[in-house]
C-alpha cells in the first residue's frame, strides 16, 4: 500500500467551527415524498423535527490509510425525529435520526 501524505502542526484543532447549519433545534420541515421503486408509486408526507445539533465522532472506513480499520473523525451533526402522515395526523416513525453531518474537511 502506498501512502502519500503531508502533515503540518496546527494550533487550531477545531474542525467543526466553520460549519453553519440553516436549521435550528425546534424547527420542523415537511416534505411530500414519492417513489416507484417496486413498480408502483407510493407517496408519503414526512415531517422532520430538528431535535439536536452536536458533535459526533464517526468511524470513517475507506480512509486514506486503511480500508479495514477506521479513523475517528468529529462531525457536527443534525438529528431529527421523523414523523409520517397517516391520513389524520403525524405518527412518530423514527427518533434521533441523523439527517446531516459535516466538518471543515468534509462538507
Amino acid at each position: 500500500m502506498l501512502i502519500e501524505a503531508t502533515m503540518r502542526q496546527v494550533s487550531d484543532y477545531n474542525i467543526t467551527d466553520e460549519i453553519e447549519w440553516g436549521v435550528s433545534v425546534g424547527e420542523s420541515y415537511t416534505y411530500d415524498y414519492a417513489d416507484d421503486g417496486e413498480g408502483f408509486e407510493e407517496g408519503y408526507e414526512l415531517r422532520f423535527d430538528i431535535v439536536k445539533i452536536n458533535e459526533t465522532l464517526f468511524e470513517k472506513y475507506n480512509n486514506g490509510f486503511s480500508n479495514e480499520y477506521p479513523i475517528y473523525m468529529t462531525h457536527q451533526t443534525v438529528y431529527a425525529d421523523l414523523f409520517v402522515w397517516n391520513g389524520s395526523h403525524f405518527l412518530l416513525d423514527d427518533s434521533n435520526m441523523m439527517i446531516g453531518a459535516a466538518n471543515n474537511f468534509y462538507p
Binding site: M1, T6, R8, V10, E55
Partner: protein, 154 residues
C-alpha cells in the same frame, strides 16, 4: 480527493519501560492519547487508550546503540532533544536511519538508501533512489514535528 484528517495528541506520560526491541533494554517511552475537540462542550475529549508516540533508548553494549521508534506512525512526530544543545537533527537522522527506518525498526515500511539533514532548517530527508519513496520532515526546536511530506510503502 486526498483524504484529510486532524490528529490531536495529548501527551499523557513519559516513562521508563523495559522491552525487547533491537535488544532487551530500558527505553524512555512517550505516551499520548488521541483526542477530538467537542465544540458543544468546549473540551478536548479522549477517544482511545494512551499509546506509544515515541520511544528512545541508548545502550552502549548493543550493536545499534541509539534507537528511536515512532509509535505506529510512518514518521517520528517527536524527537528527543539534547539538554544543552537542543534539537540535533544531524544526530537524529543517523539514529532514525539505523533504527526507526531500518529493516528491524519498522517492519513493512520501504527501505531508504540515502538520507541527509539540514541543521538550519531542522530538516531530515530520507529517500530511495530506485523506487522514489521519500520522507521529508521538518521539526520545531522543541523536537515536535512542524511539517512533513512522505511517500511510503507499507
Amino acid at each position: 480527493m486526498m483524504f484529510r484528517d486532524i490528529w490531536i495528541y495529548d501527551i499523557t506520560s513519559i516513562e521508563n519501560v523495559t522491552l525487547n526491541w533491537l535488544g532487551t533494554n530500558i527505553f524512555s517511552q512517550l505516551n499520548a492519547t488521541q483526542c477530538y475537540y467537542n465544540t458543544t462542550l468546549g473540551l478536548l475529549e479522549v477517544y482511545e487508550n494512551s499509546r506509544e508516540l515515541g520511544l528512545f533508548g541508548y545502550h552502549n553494549t548493543d550493536t545499534i546503540q541509539h534507537k528511536l521508534r515512532a509509535g505506529e506512525n510512518g514518521v517520528p512526530f517527536i524527537l528527543p532533544i539534547n539538554g544543552t544543545k537542543g534539537l540535533e537533527v544531524d544526530v537524529m537522522a543517523d539514529i532514525i536511519n539505523s533504527s526507526c527506518y531500518s529493516p528491524e525498526g519498522n517492519p513493512g515500511i520501504n527501505l531508504f538508501d540515502s538520507y541527509s539533514s539540514d541543521t538550519l532548517l531542522n530538516r531530515i530527508y530520507f529517500s530511495n533512489s530506485s523506487d522514489g519513496y521519500f520522507s521529508d520532515i521538518y521539526y520545531y526546536e522543541n523536537g515536535t514535528l512542524d511539517h512533513a511530506s512522505v511517500e511510503l510503502r507499507i
